[in-house]
Subunit: 152 residues, 2 copies
Amino acid sequence: MDDQNKQNAEILALENFLPYRLNQAAEKVSQKFAQEYKKRYGLTRPEWRTFATIGQFGVITAREICNHSPMHKTKVSRAVFSLEKRRWVKRTQDPEDRRLEHLELTSVGQTAYKDMVNVARQFEKNFIDSIGGEDAKLLLTALNAIERRFEG
Amino acid sequence: MDDQNKQNAEILALENFLPYRLNQAAEKVSQKFAQEYKKRYGLTRPEWRTFATIGQFGVITAREICNHSPMHKTKVSRAVFSLEKRRWVKRTQDPEDRRLEHLELTSVGQTAYKDMVNVARQFEKNFIDSIGGEDAKLLLTALNAIERRFEG
DNA sequence: AATTAGTGGTTGCACATGTAACCATCCATT
DNA sequence: AATGGATGGTTACATGTGCAACCACTAATT
């Protein structure tokens, strides 16, 4: 394990490679947050995201969830199924177009959602505080740039 | 899908939630890069990372790979196996401690590594250019802050 | 009205992954 | 030397995931 004596142009230092660093940082944060809602509610990542999206929009279809927060449609399908099983989500068929299923939170789901929102806000706040407000602003600006870049 | 009329404190807008945004941005970038080396070499993500780490250090053990670029040890074990199968990596048992296996690139592996480094550097350059050098600097600063936060 | 193409959503299958248990070896204590 | 605990690495099993094929339905074309 001798990185030093090969510090030339032929070597790529992973810990300095920007895409890798971005990925690691994001993964660390996501894992920490996932740990929170897994412990509290036993939700998986796709379940949490599906849940959060339904909560955000009130009524929405699976397809729209895929579009809004990029996930494979089978992931959403399975997440909806499991959320339905725990009675946090209910579906109603569209009478106009019987392919569509409108998803919404049950009242139990809404209660859980409110709680979850608080947890999320708290987590975000802690995160921002822990890296420092200034750096958090820089992060936001950088994220704007990246998102802009991936629109086209 | 009516986000507008519920724009109050009770709702969490996923697309503004910092951990989510960070995760999405990182995932987009990683996917784009993964697409590159998958097409070129047919490597999976854990394989690429394992390969890159061995190339960086010259000689290294599986355990050390896990420590340097956080991956589950079974992932590394399997990645090493498949890299060995394609004759990019060879292992030699440590004579002092026969549990240890020292991993290094074969000469074929080294050739591929050099090529891969160029591809990676090019990708990073394109990425930085596409979001703009200024914003890339902000990103670096923010990443430093996040990494610092996750050391303790 | 019949045929075709497209869309929302689910499912079967193959493959990737994490957990736990495991094997071989080393190290510390006795 | 013998025993018990730790460590590097692999493997069996259960679970998660993506792809492709599918079903039910709608929309467009004839």
